[in-house]
């Protein structure tokens, strides 16, 4: 690994000041599990690395007054996976962190690091898209902005973050009354692998069996995580039956744009997107999947 100049920032202001000074020659380091690998391979060669580990404001998981959840950017995957606050919000949220890599990596990797790394096969983004989360970003020189999770990613390993910005936390709004979350990660190879495809669904059903709330996030199905709005629109207000779910899930084929890789061809992943979208919605609706 090429060496570099390192500073451990003591506060958000200090981190942003260092970032402003070095601009695109600087990288923040959170858990390091992705950045160290990229640096070892020479794919990223920052002149300056700014450590975020000492910044208390970036830590912690708390329920908000309205019943939502706020997760500090430096929260490790394992901390969120084992958080009573996250479990109380929706059990499927911490459980979705429990399928990432291995416990050892989850002890090091952070939620903020995961998001800015912007690997489209990561697990938290589809879950956070389904939960309508926003990324709370602070700017050098003051100011902040809230970016909807689904608008955060722009391309393979690229986000909307400017070179004067830092992710402070992820804010998850309260779960709509009666809605539930499910996340399915299709892993045909090994349990510690990246998803071949993954689907997160938040679903609410009214007393007549009609869909009153639906949001769908997809992982590993394009150069960025995706939201499957076409499938949501097809089901919102409709009775949830084997047939209606099957018909709506088929629309996901036109939402995705997968890449051929070692986990399967684009055609295979497109078909698996349909299958797992149908199964995930059906599991929440209490309906048997046809696929």
């Amino acid at each position: 690994m090429r060496t570099f100049d390192y500073t451990a920032a003591a506060s958000i202001d200090e981190a942003l000041a260092a970032l402003k000074e070095y601009g695109d020659e600087a990288e923040f380091i959170a858990g390091g599990t992705s950045l160290i690998l990229l640096m070892q391979q020479g794919l990223v060669q920052p002149a300056k690395v700014i450590g975020l580990g000492n910044i208390k404001e970036l830590r912690g998981i708390k329920r908000t007054a309205d019943g939502g959840l706020e997760v500090g950017a430096m929260t490790t995957h394992r901390q969120l996976e084992t958080s009573p606050e996250a479990f109380a919000y929706a059990a499927a949220l911490p459980q979705s962190l429990g399928v990432i890599a291995t416990i050892r990596i989850r002890n090091q990797a952070t939620l903020g690091g995961n998001l800015v790394h912007a690997d489209p096969a990561q697990d938290p983004p589809p879950v956070l898209i389904a939960l309508d989360a926003t990324v709370d970003v602070v700017k050098a020189g003051g100011g902040a902005r809230a970016i909807p999770m689904e608008a955060f990613f722009t391309d393979f390993f690229e986000t909307v973050l400017g070179d004067n910005e830092l992710v402070r936390s992820v804010k998850i709004p309260p779960m709509p009354s009666g809605s539930r979350l499910a996340y399915k990660k299709f892993l045909p190879r090994t349990a510690d692998d990246y998803a071949t495809v993954s689907v997160a669904v938040r679903l609410g059903v009214d007393a007549d069996g009609r869909c009153k709330d639906i949001r769908i996030g997809l992982g590993a199905l394009a150069v960025t995580p995706l939201r499957a709005k076409a499938v949501e629109s097809a089901l919102l207000g409709q009775k949830l039956t084997e047939q209606s779910i099957k018909d709506a899930a088929a629309l996901v084929r036109d939402v995705v744009d997968p890449l051929d890789d070692v986990r399967g061809s684009a055609g295979y992943k497109r078909e698996m997107a349909r299958v797992w979208t149908e199964r995930t919605i059906a599991s929440l609706a209490g309906v048997k999947a046809k696929a």
């Binding site: 570099f4 100049d5 690998l37 070892q40 002149a47 416990i103 050892r104 090091q108």
Partner: protein, 165 residues
């Protein structure tokens, strides 16, 4: 290419109960510091990309990959390696003892990491189920594929006896 400044850091941390002070560049990884500088070669390097678990260490009791952890990040913290697991020179930890008794290793390259990972497991779950052991140990690969004996060893160290062993 313009001049790139390079920082050097004085770090102080507790290693297996003793204070260690070192001067390190920010690019030095914990697995390399332990092996090449400090001379504790019990921590092995297998894949170097955080997958195999051979370089498992405990940082403030938390299981981590030494190959992905810059040494500067352990400043002020407490690190335990395989060399610090035994209670004394003449005594093995229950896990070390069980790995020997139950044949929990073949070639031995993964064994330090297996025992460190299992130590972290038993510290927070004294009587894990076989499924919990499998889930926890998933990140420690054994290329001799001696997984059953490894799980048996961890159960034995936890005082879990199985009738059919």
């Amino acid at each position: 290419m313009h001049f790139r400044p390079v920082s050097v850091h004085q770090i102080s941390f507790e290693l297996n109960g003793k204070t260690v002070e070192r001067s390190v560049g920010p690019e030095v990884l914990m697995a390399d510091l332990l092996r090449d500088d400090i001379g504790l070669t019990g921590t092995k390097i297998g894949c170097s990309i955080g997958v195999c678990g051979a370089c498992s260490i405990l940082v403030d009791g938390t299981l981590m990959s030494g190959c992905l952890l810059p040494a500067i990040m352990v400043d002020g913290r407490s690190v335990t390696t395989i060399e610090g697991i035994a209670p004394s020179e003449d005594e093995l930890s229950p896990l070390q003892d069980a790995f020997i008794r139950k044949g929990g290793f073949q070639c031995g390259i993964c064994t330090s990491g297996q025992i460190i990972a299992a130590t972290a497991l038993l510290a927070q779950n004294a009587k894990p189920t076989r499924e919990e052991i499998k889930e926890w140990m998933m990140g420690n690969l054994c290329r001799c594929t001696g997984y059953y004996k490894i799980i048996d060893s961890i159960e034995a160290a936890a005082g879990i006896e199985r009738a059919n062993v």
